[in-house]
Symmetry: C2
Amino acid sequence: MHRLDESLLMSLPPFSLLDRPQVRAILDRATSRRYDIGATVFQEGHDAEQFFLLLDGTIRVVKITADGEQITSLHIPPGQLFGFAKAIGRTTYPATAMVASESVILSWATPLWDTFITEYPGFAQASAKTVGSRLTELNSRIIDMSTQHVEQRVARALSRLVSQSGQRTADGIEIGFPITRQDVSEMTGTTLHTVSRLLSSWEKNGLIKSKRKKITICDPHRLTLLGEG
Amino acid sequence: MHRLDESLLMSLPPFSLLDRPQVRAILDRATSRRYDIGATVFQEGHDAEQFFLLLDGTIRVVKITADGEQITSLHIPPGQLFGFAKAIGRTTYPATAMVASESVILSWATPLWDTFITEYPGFAQASAKTVGSRLTELNSRIIDMSTQHVEQRVARALSRLVSQSGQRTADGIEIGFPITRQDVSEMTGTTLHTVSRLLSSWEKNGLIKSKRKKITICDPHRLTLLGEG
DNA sequence: CAAAGAGTTTGCTCTAGCGCAAAGTTTTGA
DNA sequence: TCAAAACTTTGCGCTAGAGCAAACTCTTTG
């Protein structure tokens, strides 16, 4: 394995408050690995032996409901820590992490978490921020679900995805990883049928374009308006 | 103000990993205050100047939606820390905390958070647990909202409330603070009408008893079954 | 003790969106 | 190259539950 280049990584959220030697020290203890699409990084309930940093790609974090249905609880964009059970006082992973698009992931053994937290206050602060933003995100999803209609929820979900991992293309901004109607329905608490109908009608209005597993937002502004009901 | 008795408080979650002198030190820096029902402890968006520990009573944490509607994001039972913006990397409160039943609350100036965290690893660990359980709770509410019908959601909400702050009475277990149909509807993303209808029908079946602002679960087991659909 | 206020119940109507079914399309892989 | 598998679209009927309206009951207060 080649040595990781700290200068490229220093600007990532978890490291932004650290100086170069600190980042160097942390990276020197990391393992880097590439994962294919569909791979499982860790599974709900398993012992949290490692924590992770997504360098490139997308991770989908899913929970399985009592009756076997699967729902997507969040998407991790590159540059974020995930699977840090230690930070939330757990010893097992609370959800399953799957690779949504080919990813490069750094990992560390869980015991290092405490080391980093105590040795690098900047790291502690940054990871608190991450946890905080998850909390905020979940909260606003609950609000959405309790007050918004599905059209608005789907619009918002797409907006979020685009802002996390959108990529400019000729037609507009495209969601940076393969995503099915089913996926979107799992994120918004609806059915793939309804999502399909919505996307079709939006496509007719020129709001989006979509292929199989691909969604491109042509008019992000109008989409946002839709989401605000 | 009289001196707080550390021996009574040592068993509370935030202190359970600390020894007596440590708890003593923390308590010596706390301010204790009683709040009447309906009072506001802090408001969303305001500078987080303090963090809190609920000794007795109940706190309702609410968020206001874009269109002015208010939704209850969680209830704090006695013994829990709340308003710890620092722990989630924020400088302002992310929600509003209102007093749901007459409460006694300890508070500390926010800068002390860092002091406690670094000086008392047990405190850091315990607060991570609290954050973690909030995360878990929100997550499972999202799952509920996306997969369960309102009858099941309401059943679960009542179960949660009862397990957090239930009090034995002659008829069964009663929710330990005044709560309206409207409140329940805000917790479950439905309307007070639907909640009222549900409670009425449950009352006919002998599952619950309810007065104005009071709900008593006569048959907790059957309620749980209902919640599992 | 009246009168206002706060909370609850119930009836009725209407529709968003689910569930089911079936056919179309794209991709995979043998 | 031809199935089979995976994904998507569309149609149709149906119901959970929202929205609205109105009456009822308990509580507070002047």
